[in-house]
Symmetry: C2
Subunit: 107 residues, 2 copies
DNA sequence: CCTCATACCTAGTTAGTCTAGGTATTGTCC
DNA sequence: GGACAATACCTAGACTAACTAGGTATGAGG
């Protein structure tokens, strides 16, 4: 799948996963790959900066810890993040409907 | 709707509309806006270059004419374009399914 | 010891949409 | 007649977000 397709859609995926419970970057990458059945096998260079942007925007907060000797940054959804997720879900719904309408597919 | 969302998805929309019969740029913009119920109200600066890329890629061919004193460039789908459209439709289907799977929505 | 998996990071590239301008014709309203 | 909207095309440069390709470090298995 061409990488451009994901542009602008990654945030809602990350927020959705984090909304189900705090998670760290590497685990989020795994989760994305599995749930999408390998469709979203994203490089770290895509996901880490995206998480940083979400934190910058105040949609997630992070805490660092050490697990089995490895440093780990765990993300949790903020109140603003929950709002943003709801809005991004609606946005996805609109986008999907609009594309389907143009392609003449049933919703 | 944020403009980034469209990235990589415009081609399939243009190919789908042109596949229903030859059309010119301005009419395609109108058609997109109406079918998507204003969700895709795209500026000319988005659509014209996209059509040029599709022609460059060999997916559409164009002929110029003059209608009511105005010059007009009409696009038609090529054989390669028909193949590309089929592939892009499958790609959209995969993408949509993958996002829905991550968001936990029913297809 | 070497490789793989885990776990984080960032600078620079790339690609595609948008902004903001341009040209030209026709029709409408005052 | 003059201003303006609608039709119809075009392009250079800005912007943004995902990717490439590198880096660091630990632990486990062969």
């Amino acid at each position: 799948m061409r990488p451009e397709l994901l542009k602008g859609h990654l945030d809602v995926l990350l927020l959705a996963i984090i909304s189900e419970g705090p998670a760290h970057g590497y685990a989020i990458i795994d989760e994305l790959r599995h749930r999408s059945e390998e469709a979203f096998a994203l490089p770290e260079g895509t996901v880490y900066p995206a998480l940083h942007r979400l934190e910058e925007a105040g949609f997630v907060s992070s805490t660092t810890s050490r697990v089995d000797g490895r440093s780990r940054r765990t993300y949790a959804l903020t109140g603003d993040g929950r709002q943003a997720l709801a809005e991004r879900r609606r946005e996805w719904s609109t986008f999907k409907g609009a594309i389907n309408a143009v392609l003449g597919e049933q919703p």
